[in-house]
C-alpha cells in the first residue's frame, strides 16, 4: 500500500509539473509549485517509511515550512507589483 501511495504521489507531482509548465497564468504556476511542494512533503514522509529511515521526517518538516514561505513570498511580490502597476496607471 505504501508503494501505491508513493506511485500516486509521483504521478500527482508530474501533473503539477505539467501545470507549472502550461500555466496559463502566474497563479496557476504558483498553485502548481505549492501543490508540488506539499506532495514532496508527503513523498518524503512515505519514502521514510518505505526505506525505514525515520530521519527523513525532519526534512519533510522543512519542506512544509519552506513551501509555505515561498508561496507567501510569491504572492506578496506579485501583489505588490500589481499594486505598483495600478498606482502608476492611476497617476
Amino acid at each position: 500500500m505504501l508503494a501505491l501511495t508513493v506511485i500516486t504521489l509521483l504521478l500527482v507531482m508530474a501533473v503539477a509539473l505539467v501545470r507549472a509548465f502550461a500555466g496559463p497564468n502566474v497563479f496557476d504556476r504558483v498553485m502548481a509549485a505549492n501543490l508540488f511542494g506539499t506532495k514532496t512533503v508527503l513523498l518524503i514522509a512515505a519514502i521514510s517509511y518505505l526505506y525505514g529511515s525515520p530521519e527523513f521526517l525532519d526534512i519533510a518538516l522543512v519542506y512544509a515550512l519552506i513551501n509555505y514561505i515561498s508561496v507567501i513570498g510569491v504572492l506578496r511580490v506579485t501583489e505588490l507589483r500589481n499594486e505598483q502597476r495600478g498606482t502608476k496607471e492611476g497617476a
Partner: protein, 330 residues
C-alpha cells in the same frame, strides 16, 4: 521500488530542466527553478544524503527562488521575446562538453557499487572511527565540523563574502553605512489579516525549529547552515507580511551586519584557541582533557558560528534586495 522512484525523479528533473529551456517568462522560470530545487532535494533523499537534501530544500527551493522573485519584482517581469536565431555556437559547445562528460563517465565505477575506490579509500575511516573519535552519530556533521572543518570555515567565509559583495553592489550612494531600507510607510492597500495571524502563530515555531535543527545536528540531519537558513526564513516571512520597515525595526540591519562578522570570528577564534596552545588550527582537543568531549564543545561552537553567520547574511541579503524592490516601487 527504489529504482522506480529514482528513475521517475530523474525524469521529472529532466522535464523541469527542459521546460526551463523553453519557458521565457521570468516568473514562470522562477517557479520552475523552485520545483527543480524540490525535485533535486527529493532525489538527494533517495540517495541517502539527508543533510544535503535538507540544505537543498532550504536553499534551492526556498532562498534562491525568493531572491529570484525579489529581483524579478525589482526589474519587472521581462516581456517574453520571440525566439531569435538558433544558437548554433551554444549547441556545439554544449554537445562537445556533454560528449566529454559522457566519455568521462565510461570508466567510472558503476552506480551504487560498494567497492568503488571512493567508498574504500578515505571514507571508511569516517564511518568506522568517527563514533569513537568524535562521538556523535551524524557522520556528515563529524566530517564537516571536525575532519574537514577548514573547508567549512571556507564555506562560512564564502557566505560572508556574498553578504559583503551584495552590500557593496547594492549600497545606495549618500547613505551612511551600507544598504539600509528607508523608513517609508508601505502603501499596502489592504492588510492580509488571515495571513498575518496564521504566520504570527507559526513564526515562533519556525524559530524554535531552527534552534532544534541547530543543536540536533549532531544526532540527525541538520546543523548550523540549515538552522541559519530556517531562522532567516522566519525573519523573511515576517518581513514579507509586515513590510520591510517593520521588520527592520524588530531586527536592526546594523546589528545583523555585525552579527555576520561575529559568526565568522566565533568560528575563527575557536580555531585560534588551539593555535595559542601550540596545537594545529581547529584542533578541538584544547577544550577538554577528554578528546571526545573536546570535539563536542568544538563542534558546538563552530556550528554556532556557522548558524549565526548564515542567518545574518541571508537576512542582510534579503534586506538589500527588498530595499531595491521598495525603491523600484516608490
Amino acid at each position: 521500488m527504489e529504482l522506480l522512484v529514482n528513475s521517475v525523479l530523474l525524469m521529472l528533473l529532466v522535464a523541469t530542466a527542459g521546460a526551463l529551456v523553453v519557458v521565457r517568462g521570468l516568473l514562470a522560470s522562477t517557479m520552475l527553478t523552485s520545483v527543480y530545487g524540490l525535485l533535486s532535494a527529493s532525489f538527494f533523499v533517495t540517495m541517502d544524503a539527508v543533510d544535503v537534501a535538507f540544505t537543498e530544500a532550504a536553499v534551492g527551493a526556498g532562498v534562491s527562488p525568493l531572491l529570484l522573485l525579489l529581483t524579478v519584482a525589482a526589474i519587472g517581469r521581462g516581456e517574453p521575446r520571440a525566439a531569435g536565431a538558433l544558437p548554433i555556437l551554444a549547441i556545439v559547445l554544449v554537445t562537445i562538453t556533454g560528449a566529454l562528460l559522457i566519455i568521462g563517465t565510461l570508466d567510472m565505477p558503476p552506480f551504487g557499487s560498494a567497492d568503488a575506490p571512493a567508498h574504500t579509500h578515505v571514507a571508511p575511516r569516517y564511518l568506522q572511527l568517527s563514533g569513537e573519535e568524535i562521538g556523535i552519530p551524524n557522520v556528515v556533521t563529524s566530517v564537516l565540523a571536525s575532519y574537514r572543518a577548514f573547508d567549512t570555515l571556507g564555506e562560512v567565509l564564502v557566505i560572508f563574502t556574498a553578504g559583503v559583495a551584495v552590500l557593496l553592489i547594492l549600497a545606495t550612494p549618500g547613505q551612511r553605512g551600507s544598504a539600509r531600507p528607508r523608513y517609508t510607510p508601505g502603501s499596502h492597500s489592504e492588510p492580509h489579516t488571515i495571513l498575518q495571524v496564521v504566520s504570527k502563530i507559526l513564526i515562533p515555531f519556525i524559530l524554535l525549529f531552527a534552534l532544534y535543527v541547530q543543536f540536533h545536528g549532531e544526532y540527525g540531519p541538520g546543523g548550523g547552515f540549515q538552522a541559519g537558513v530556517i531562522f532567516a526564513s522566519g525573519i523573511i516571512l515576517y518581513g514579507l507580511l509586515y513590510g520591510l520597515p517593520t521588520v527592520c525595526r524588530v531586527v536592526r540591519p546594523a546589528v545583523v551586519e555585525t552579527l555576520a562578522a561575529v559568526g565568522v570570528l566565533l568560528y575563527g577564534t575557536t580555531g585560534l584557541l588551539a593555535m595559542l596552545d601550540g596545537r594545529p588550527f581547529l584542533d578541538y582537543s584544547v577544550f577538554a582533557a577528554n578528546p571526545v568531549l573536546g570535539q563536542h564543545i568544538g563542534i558546538l561552537l563552530v556550528e554556532l558560528g556557522v548558524g549565526i553567520t548564515v542567518a545574518s547574511v541571508i537576512t542582510v541579503i534579503y534586506y538589500a534586495f527588498a530595499n531595491q524592490f521598495e525603491m523600484a516601487e516608490g
